[in-house]
Amino acid sequence: MRREPAGDVVRAKEMDETVSEFFRRTILKIPLTEMMTILKTWNFLSENQLQTVNFRQRKESLVQDLVLLCEVTVFKMINLEHDATLWFFSFLSLVRKRCKENRASLNDAALLDIIYTQFHRHQKVWDVFQMSKGPGEDTDLFDMEQFKSSFKKILKRALKNVTVSFRDAEENAVWIRIAWGTQYRKPNQYKPAYVVYYSQTPYAFTSSSQLKSNLPLLGQALTVASKHHQIVKMDLRSRYLDSLKAIVFKQYNQTFETHNSTTPLQERSLGLDINMDSRIIHENKTEKERVQRVTQEIFGDYPQPRLEFAQYKLETKFKSDLNGGILAEREEPLRCLVKFSSPHLLEALKSLAPAGIADAPLSPLLTCIPNKGMNYFKIRDK
């Protein structure tokens, strides 16, 4: 029968050291310029608590102060020096329970991690999954809470050690954070997987987690919890979640002006004339205008969604007019990989023909990327 030390402020049972460390590392990741915004979004520490912290000190000390705030509960208790009695113990257990509610738990830390990732979503590479319902299945009304509990239950049933956290977002989306463990090991909080599921659509975006072996389980949990039948990985990958959304939900081709969509082209070519010296004469003006027109027809006037690369895998058997030759007898197809990378691939492709680097129109393999929602292609012999 251990007696708790009585006093004015009761320090709750020390937060688990791993959780404390996880807190420290998560807060340490946040840049100082965003610290206030993220902590306010997190909404765990109150305004008063935040005001007690000096945000102008060095980062390490600031982080230390914040972690202490998360650990300690401020719970004034009356001075008790009596021996253990029944009511004391029940009172103490009540205190301990209340302390548990107030101090920061693993779930709060996970929530902070989600918020950090939402602010820095471009630091992860996102894959896109598409689910489908079976033939003849009804579209039930979606219940978010039921989805969350079902998802969590499936994962916990398969892997005893797994941390699942949720955060709702706009447009009926939910951000899910999963820290994977095994039957015998606690979850690794530093390599979580994220899933952003838009509940009114069959699409989910996942961050490429290093632990690829858990991917089938994740897919299964997502499918069953959202009452779908099948899940398929799309050949689409990028750092820019918002661009992936725009491509998949077909929101990228919305122009703002509609009635004067023809004038911009003329204005553009007129703009060239105004700036130009009259002593400079473009001989191929009609060709230039044709290129501009074709480019606009294909790419439109709107800003392109942002992708970093397009990859083409080519597999083809060697074809030759001459009979014989070593390569002609080869049964295995030849393989070739072409990868286009750019900070903003689609804008770069759009500017190729006007810059004179390529002929217009561009190859449909390049221009079909947003339409088909793919940036990984496999090209085989027919």
Binding site: D277, E283, N284, T286, G356, I357
Partner: protein, 193 residues
């Protein structure tokens, strides 16, 4: 008239016209503007074309100098120039044609000034290919990185002087004289190519 001939038109009074042929319009435009900034006693006109033949329905002045611009990073530009060369009459190559290779060097600007580093690894066309092309057509080859303003201004100056000579505005120097002056001693080494 699908073939350009040097003397098929009468010259304009005190006018010198240059034709820049190349795929990258932005570079040509910048070079043209740099040329027009130069002080020159003659009236300059710059025509920009992506490729030859030129559209035939246009009334244009006599062309005194053609410069074919090749970007060493782009095989497309080389192919374009090679095809355009077929539409130039042989008599043009008596000093009134020049080749310009760009994309040769990338300059790094540090706090103390700048140094040039060869970007050979990024060039999809080897220098020798362009040198051979210029040698085949017996025309001078100029190297300039048109993206760098200072180099571009220097090249514009050279081209303006060449244009004046080709238009006959410089007394006692003709295009052919200039050509033989520009055939420097390095050309014999190209025989080995």
């Amino acid at each position: 008239m699908s073939v350009l001939r040097p003397l098929d038109k009468l010259p304009g009074l005190n006018t010198a016209t240059i034709l820049l042929v190349g795929t990258e319009d932005a570079l040509l435009q910048q070079l043209a503007e740099a040329m027009l900034k130069e002080d020159c006693t003659s009236e300059l006109k710059v025509h920009l074309a992506k490729s030859l033949p030129l559209p035939s329905n246009v009334n244009r002045p006599r062309i005194d100098l053609i410069v074919f611009v090749v970007n060493l990073h782009s095989k497309h530009s080389l192919r374009n120039v090679e095809e355009s060369l077929h539409h130039v009459d042989a008599t043009f190559f008596l000093g009134k044609v020049s080749f310009l290779a760009t994309g040769v060097m990338k300059v790094e600007i540090t706090g103390r000034g700048f140094f040039a580093a060869g970007q050979e690894s990024h060039c999809s066309i080897h220098r020798n290919t362009v040198m051979k092309l210029a040698h085949t057509y017996r025309s001078p080859l100029l190297f300039c990185d048109l993206e760098i303003e200072d180099f571009r201004a220097a090249m514009a100056q050279r081209l303006v002087r060449m244009l004046q000579i080709c238009a006959g505005h410089v007394p006692s120097v003709s295009a052919l004289n200039l050509l033989s002056l520009l055939q420097s001693s390095e050309n014999p080494s190209l025989e080995d190519l």
